[in-house]
Amino acid sequence: MTSSAGLRFKTYLLILIMVIFGPVGDVLLREGMRRTGKLTTWAPAGVFHFFVRTFTIGTIWLGIGSLVVFFVAYMLVLSWADFSYVQPASTLSYGVVALMGYFLLGESVSLTQWTGVGIICLGVFVVGHTHPRTTEPE
């Protein structure tokens, strides 16, 4: 049987990996999409050409690579912890994304938005103080 402390350590370690690699991937994707241009059509041919252009940009692939690392950590943690626990716990990454968008990409973030991000992080703190598993393993 896995001890409660061991389970928590394992869970927090993988969530840390998720919190770093998820936001880095998102920021790289945004930078790549800025270079691609805006998707302004719903026409299938237009959408197809838009995404073909998207995947010729190196930054997009770096973003995808970072998100793959995030995704593997996410799948591993989902093998023992509840989905409704892991997903909100990973929202710490929303704060990191806002900070990276502001400092690295020069995006404007209003005071109301910073407040919103802070409340999201508070929500994460509340969720983080519940046990990671509520159902018995099969």
Partner: protein
């Protein structure tokens, strides 16, 4: 604006349904206790035989394209926090689809996240 809203609905419902399918697939495989590369590869080989994994991956891929689409229109510091609206959907889905007990405390956390997302949306210039 309608274009962004369409993208967000696409991302939130498609992505959340995909993640629920993935969670169900990983629960079928069981807890991962060995993190050595060879053991992880064995886990992956077991995972790809679970149909929920493929349904989940398909839904998440579609949501990813929607995510790229909306990232071409708006800042990442706006887009990513708004997608956190999926917590309301996922908490409901976890209880119904996965049989997880979502406690009052978790609901309170999810509610805070939703209020935060609303402010992020409202604060957009």
């Amino acid at each position: 604006m309608w274009r962004e809203v369409s993208f967000f609905l696409w991302i939130i419902f498609g992505g959340t349904a995909g993640e629920l399918c993935l969670s169900r697939a990983m629960k079928t495989v069981g807890e991962v206790t060995d993190f050595r590369p060879r053991a992880l590869i064995r886990v992956m080989l077991r995972v790809i035989k679970v149909k929920w994994m493929w349904i989940g991956l398909t839904l998440m891929t579609l949501a990813f394209f929607g995510f790229l689409g909306v990232l071409s229109l708006d800042n990442v510091s706006f887009v990513v926090p708004v997608t956190a609206l999926s917590y309301a959907v996922s908490a409901l889905g976890s209880g119904v689809f996965l049989g997880e007990r979502v406690s009052r405390q978790r609901w309170a956390g999810v509610l805070l996240v939703c209020v935060g997302v609303a402010l992020v949306f409202a604060g957009k210039g």
